[in-house]
C-alpha cells in the first residue's frame, strides 16, 4: 500500500474509534448541546419581547427575533461542541494508550486527523439538532436557494474545522482533561460578545470593534445573509479568512505539541 492510502486507512481507523467513543458515551456530546438550547429558549421565550423590540422588531411578535438569533446559536453550538474534542484529545494524550499508538508503525497524524474529522462530524450533527429545535420554535429561512443552503452548510463545516483544530491544540496543550475543558471555555463564551444576540452596532462604541472583528461575528453575519437574505458585505471574506487562519494555526500548533517527546 502506498503511504497515502496507509495514512487514509489509519486516519479512518482512528475516526471510527473517535465516533465509537461518542456513540458509547453520548452524554458528553449531549451535555454540550444544553448551553445553546437553553440560550435559545431563554432568549426567545423569557427575554424575547424586549429583545425583539430592541432589534426593531414589530411589537410582541417574536418570530423576527427567532430568525435573528438562530444563526448565531448554530455557530455557538459549534463553539460548544468542540469543547468535547479538547477534552477527548487531552484524555488520549495523558493516557497510556497514546504511548502504544506512538510505538506502532502507523501514520503519525492519524490520531489527530481522527479527532478532527470526528469533531467536525459531531459539530454538524449538533448543529442539525439545535437547528431542528429552532425550526420547532418557528425559525424559517427566507427564500434561501439550494446553493445558499449548501454554502451555509459549507460555512458551518469550515467554521467547525477551524474551531476543532484550535480545540485539539488546547487539548494537547493541557495537563489534564479538566484543564482542557476550562481552556476551551472561551469558545462557548465568545458568541455572547458577538452579534449573535444583539447587533454589534447597538453595543457601546468602545466595544464595537471587539464584537465586530472576532471570528464569530463575521461568520454569524454570513450565515444570516445566506439563510435570511440580509446584507453579507465583506463579512463573507472575513469569515473565510478567520476559518482558514484558525485552521492553519490550530493544525500547526497541534502538530508541534503532538510531535514533542512525551514526558
Amino acid at each position: 500500500m502506498s503511504s497515502l492510502s496507509l495514512a487514509v486507512r489509519d486516519s479512518n481507523t482512528m475516526l471510527r474509534r473517535n465516533l465509537l467513543h461518542a456513540w458509547r458515551y453520548p452524554s458528553g456530546t449531549l451535555n454540550l448541546l444544553l448551553t445553546p438550547i437553553m440560550m435559545l429558549l431563554l432568549f426567545v421565550y423569557i427575554f424575547g419581547d424586549v429583545m425583539s423590540a430592541g432589534i426593531g422588531g414589530s411589537g410582541a411578535d417574536r418570530s423576527e427575533y427567532i430568525a435573528y438569533i438562530v444563526p448565531g446559536l448554530l455557530l455557538m453550538t459549534v463553539g460548544s461542541t468542540v469543547i468535547g474534542a479538547a477534552v477527548s484529545v487531552c484524555t488520549d494524550m495523558t493516557e497510556g494508550v497514546m504511548a502504544r499508538f506512538r510505538t506502532m508503525a502507523i501514520y503519525r497524524g492519524s490520531l489527530l486527523v481522527g479527532h478532527v474529522v470526528g469533531g467536525v462530524l459531531q459539530c454538524v450533527m449538533s448543529v442539525v439538532l439545535v437547528g431542528a429545535v429552532g425550526v420547532a420554535m418557528g425559525f424559517r429561512s427566507t427564500d434561501a436557494t439550494a446553493l445558499e443552503w449548501l454554502a451555509a452548510f459549507g460555512l458551518i463545516a469550515l467554521f467547525a474545522l477551524a474551531l476543532t483544530w484550535i480545540a485539539v491544540g488546547m487539548g494537547a496543550a493541557s495537563p489534564n482533561p479538566e484543564a482542557a475543558g476550562n481552556m476551551a471555555m472561551p469558545l462557548i463564551l465568545l458568541p455572547l460578545i458577538s452579534s449573535a444576540f444583539i447587533p454589534a452596532e447597538t453595543m457601546p462604541g468602545w466595544f464595537q470593534p471587539i464584537a465586530e472583528y472576532q471570528p464569530f461575528t463575521p461568520a454569524i453575519e454570513t450565515l444570516r445573509g445566506l439563510l435570511l437574505g440580509t446584507e453579507i458585505g465583506n463579512h463573507g471574506w472575513i469569515a473565510l479568512a478567520w476559518c482558514v487562519g484558525l485552521s492553519v494555526l490550530g493544525y500547526r500548533w497541534s502538530m508541534a505539541l503532538f510531535n514533542r517527546d512525551p514526558k
Binding site: 489509519d10 474509534r17 465509537l20 467513543h21 508503525a105
Partner: protein, 336 residues
C-alpha cells in the same frame, strides 16, 4: 545461554541486514531531563530469541531506556539499533518489528476488550476476517473471552495487563518490550504473567523486560543487567551476577553468652555480633564445609541454638550494586 546461536524470524518480513545479529543493541545511550541525568551512557547487546531483564530500583532509568528503544522518545546521545533499524533514523522500521507494553495500562478504557483488539488489528492493517480471528484467538489465550464485550475500564488490574499484552501481540512482533509487567499485580496474577512471558519466549520472540523484582529477573531472564543511577552496574546471567558477590555465610545464634564465647574461640574467621550473640562464618554452603563446622562445635561440646545457611541470591547482588551501604540484614562483613 543463547549467546552465539541467533534465531531469525520465521516471518521473514522486515528483516534486518545480515550483519545485525542482535535483536537490540545500544552504545552509549544518554538522556537527561533538564538538569537530571537519567541515562549516563548505557551499552546493551541482546541476542535474538532471548529474554533480557533490566533490573533496577525506582528511578534508575529503566523506563527511559525502554522509551528510547521503543522510539517513544529520542536519546540525547549514543546509538541504538532494534531489529536492525536505527531508532533515531528509521523509527518506523523499529516500530514495525516491536510490541510495547508500557508500565501504565495502554488500553482504551472507553471501549470493550474486543474493540481494543480489533482496533489493533485495523492499525496493523489486517483484513477484517483475519482481524476477527486474531482477536478471538488472543482473547481466548489470555482468558478474556468472557469479558470481551465489557468496557476495558471495568477490568481488574490483572485483566487489564493481560489485555494490554494481548493487544501488543496482535501484530506478531518479534521483539517485545515489557516495562514492569507485574508491578501492582497480586501474587497469582504475577505468576500468570510469568507463564505468559515464558510462553512468548517459546514462540521465539525476544523479550526485553524491566523489573524491580529480583526474583522475577532470576525466574525469567537469560541475561540480566543491573541499572543504577543511569549506568549499568553489572551484566550477566543470574549465576554470573551471584558469583560477583561472595555473600554466602553460615550464621550461628546462641542464647547462652558462655557457649557464644567458647564457640567464637573455637571457630576462627568469625564475625561476631556480641549483642545478638550471633556468629557469622563465610561459607559456600557446601555439605563438607557445613560438616566441618559442626564437627568442630561437637568436639568442643558446644551447641548453637540456631543455625542458618545463607546462600547468595540476587538480593545480595542488587543491594551490593545499587544501594547505599546501610541496608538491613546485609552486614558489610559478608562482602569481603
Amino acid at each position: 545461554m543463547p549467546s552465539s546461536v541467533m534465531r531469525t524470524s520465521r516471518q521473514g518480513d522486515h528483516r534486518p541486514s545480515p550483519t545485525a545479529v542482535s535483536a537490540v543493541s545500544a552504545v552509549g545511550l544518554r538522556k537527561s531531563y533538564g538538569e537530571k541525568l537519567v541515562l549516563d551512557g548505557i551499552d546493551l547487546h541482546i541476542p535474538a530469541g532471548s529474554v533480557f531483564a533490566l533490573l533496577g530500583p525506582n528511578g534508575a532509568g529503566k523506563t527511559t531506556a525502554v522509551k528510547i528503544l521503543s522510539t517513544l522518545i529520542t536519546a540525547d546521545g549514543g546509538q541504538a539499533q532494534v531489529a536492525g533499524h536505527d531508532v533515531a533514523t528509521a523509527p518506523d522500521g523499529v516500530r514495525a518489528a516491536i510490541g510495547v507494553t508500557g508500565q501504565f495500562s495502554a488500553v482504551d478504557g472507553l471501549i470493550t476488550g474486543e474493540e481494543n483488539m480489533l482496533l489493533m488489528a485495523d492499525l496493523h492493517h489486517l483484513s477484517k476476517s483475519e482481524g476477527r480471528r486474531v482477536a478471538a484467538e488472543l482473547l481466548e489465550r489470555f482468558d478474556l473471552t468472557h469479558a470481551a464485550k465489557k468496557p476495558a475500564a471495568t477490568y481488574s488490574g490483572g485483566m487489564k495487563r493481560r489485555l494490554d499484552i494481548a493487544m501488543t501481540l496482535v501484530g506478531d512482533p518479534r521483539i517485545i518490550f515489557l516495562d514492569e509487567p507485574t508491578t501492582g499485580l497480586d501474587p497469582r496474577s504475577r505468576h500468570n504473567m510469568w507463564g505468559i512471558i515464558r510462553g512468548l519466549v517459546s514462540d521465539g520472540v525476544t523479550v526485553f523486560l524491566t523489573t524491580q523484582y529480583l526474583e522475577e529477573a532470576d525466574e525469567l531472564a537469560d541475561r540480566i543487567a543491573v541499572l543504577n543511577d543511569g549506568r549499568i552496574a553489572a551484566e550477566g546471567t543470574a549465576e554470573e551476577l551471584k558469583r560477583l558477590i561472595p555473600g554466602g555465610h553460615i550464621r550461628l545464634r546462641f542464647t547462652d553468652p558462655a557457649s557464644y564465647q567458647s564457640a567464637a574461640d573455637t571457630l576462627r574467621e568469625v564475625t561476631r555480633d556480641d549483642e545478638a550473640l550471633t556468629l557469622q562464618l563465610p561459607s559456600d554452603g557446601s555439605q563438607r564445609e557445613l560438616r566441618s563446622i559442626l564437627d568442630r562445635l561437637d568436639s568442643a561440646g558446644i551447641e548453637a541454638d540456631e543455625l542458618t545457611v545463607h546462600t547468595p541470591d540476587l538480593d545480595d547482588v542488587f543491594f551490593a550494586l545499587t544501594g547505599p551501604a546501610d541496608v538491613p540484614n546485609q552486614p558489610k562483613e559478608t562482602v569481603r
